[in-house]
Symmetry: C2
Subunit: 320 residues, 2 copies
């Protein structure tokens, strides 16, 4: 058997309640008793049972971060930032994965309503949930903050990026660098990608820049020499290049993507990467979550918080 408070109390010839107080440094307990209790606790290798404590206090000092997977930088970065920041605040941070599986989302969200955590940050599933588990959780008063995208009908705080502005910035940098024509390829699969696509289009129109939305059948006008490929991600740009091998010979190519470009710009000339400020997003999400945890009266309000882009990074070829 693991040693319990009872064991310590017995060993010290005090009551369990005294032992309990002593271990939490209650000043009501005489210094001598406190020392003695702590001493024997150490000797017996005492570890308080968290289930029992949680049952009594109703809190866990634990926060869950629920994400779909660990392969996007947003997810891993959020995990690391939140974990670091919350540990300063004496919370344990636990990351749970739902694998884009709706029933798993439901199960994990359900756990939250079973007292496993004091609050949670959720990066919602790509596919709009058909169920209302998250909505119910929030309505029950559980402190939840959404990261990256909102969920319809869920009345809570969402922390996201200035997606439209970021995309516009990518277009602008390509044009300033010399691109005369932009090919915009953004799979419009969710709220975030939608905002980005619109951001790019609006900027082009506002600034009168020749452009085309990639529908798989792109024609680049005569006379164009420099083309910018605007997209969500590295792999989408590379797909465009593979689908149109002639572009590499015919044009000077630049890319504009979100978040990351792996390795050299090669075979493109150069490019720009819109770096979201993941740590700032996570930090803000944590701050808001803590507020919700500490102030039950502030729950139940829908709010969007847009964190500014961290930087537009220029990527050029180091080796010629």
């Amino acid at each position: 058997m693991r040693t319990t408070l009872k064991d310590i109390a017995k060993a010290c010839e005090v009551d369990v309640s005294t032992a309990s107080r002593a271990l939490r440094d209650d000043p009501l307990v005489k210094q001598a008793t406190r020392d003695k209790v702590k001493q024997t606790a150490k000797e017996l290798g005492y570890r308080p049972n968290l289930a029992a404590r949680s049952l009594q206090t109703g809190t866990t000092h634990t926060v869950w971060l629920i994400v779909s997977s660990l392969d996007s930088k947003l997810e891993t970065s959020a995990g690391e930032s939140a974990s670091k920041q919350l540990s300063e605040l004496q919370y344990d941070t636990l990351v749970a994965l739902h694998h884009q599986d709706q029933s798993t989302v439901k199960r994990l969200v359900g756990r939250l309503s079973q007292g496993v955590a004091d609050g949670a940050i959720l990066i919602p599933s790509q596919h709009t949930p058909g169920d209302t588990s998250v909505q119910q959780l929030v309505e029950s008063g559980f402190p939840l903050v959404l990261l990256d995208r909102a969920i319809p009908d869920v009345q809570t705080i969402t922390v996201t990026t200035q997606n439209a502005k970021g995309m516009a910035s990518l277009c602008e940098h390509c044009v300033n660098a010399g691109s005369e024509f932009l090919v915009i390829h953004v799979d419009d699969i969710n709220e975030v990608t939608h905002t980005r696509l619109q951001g790019a289009i609006k900027w082009c129109k506002a600034n009168n820049i020749a452009h085309v939305i990639d529908d798989g059948n792109v024609q680049i006008p005569e006379g164009i020499k420099q083309v910018g490929l605007i997209s969500n991600a590295h792999f989408e740009v590379m797909k465009m290049v593979r689908d149109h091998p002639s572009w590499l010979k015919d044009y000077t190519l630049r890319f504009g993507v979100f978040d990351g470009w792996l390795g050299e710009p090669y075979p493109l000339k150069e490019g720009f990467v819109c770096k979201q400020d993941f740590p700032a997003m996570a930090q803000r999400a944590v701050e808001e979550l803590i507020k919700l945890i500490d102030h039950p009266d502030q729950r139940g309000q829908r709010k969007m918080i847009r964190i500014p882009i961290r930087e537009i990074q220029h990527r050029s070829n180091h080796f010629g």
Copy 2:
């Protein structure tokens, strides 16, 4: 207040114990009662309190995966595989981060001894722990499996890769592809890197291949035209190339690295990547963990399990 068993019992005019049985589909309870209880549980939005259950049963149906961060493929891959596999077995998987911080490792490992999980998988910190918290945990009989590297004096199962063989394979592929001379650069910082370094050296000696260990002062013999750069990772190879810019002109360069190469081989000619089988490692770790959980008598035995390399991947330049 959240609805409890008591509320349901009252509503159904039965005892809490009956309600408890009914909800767990105990066949001893009359079908009619079972239905009624379940029905009102649903209506009242009943969610069993897991702390209370855990306090009673001593189990949590939860497994922790403790890792340093989320930026290596091993860590994220382990997280995803373990989470998927364990959810089939009705376990919740929670990932906790220790940020290479010794006190955080200690805190998290400490949590395990407080009943937060039924078992855990740990990827140990880079720096050898000066403390004995893990050792104590294992000695207390807690089911723990180590992933990637062992910890001295900890009597439990470790699942790792055939590191020596992988490194030898990289050397072999470079040589077969034409490299006449190998520069081996492996920072010898832990058990894993040590094994790899030795693996490379032994293979070169056994096969009589000219090579040098990079000590920052490498001389490549006269007459050599094709050089292989063997290292742990992409960034280390790129560092070598940056430190010796002349190599790009003087030699045909190949790389041999573990796990991943980002983007094109450029500016090198081509290279080889030793892909560890992270999913297989995680899967095996999970299997062993489940065994330990289910069979308390099998705990306390030190064992190394080496999972074969998944493949040696050839990376060549797509664009010329």
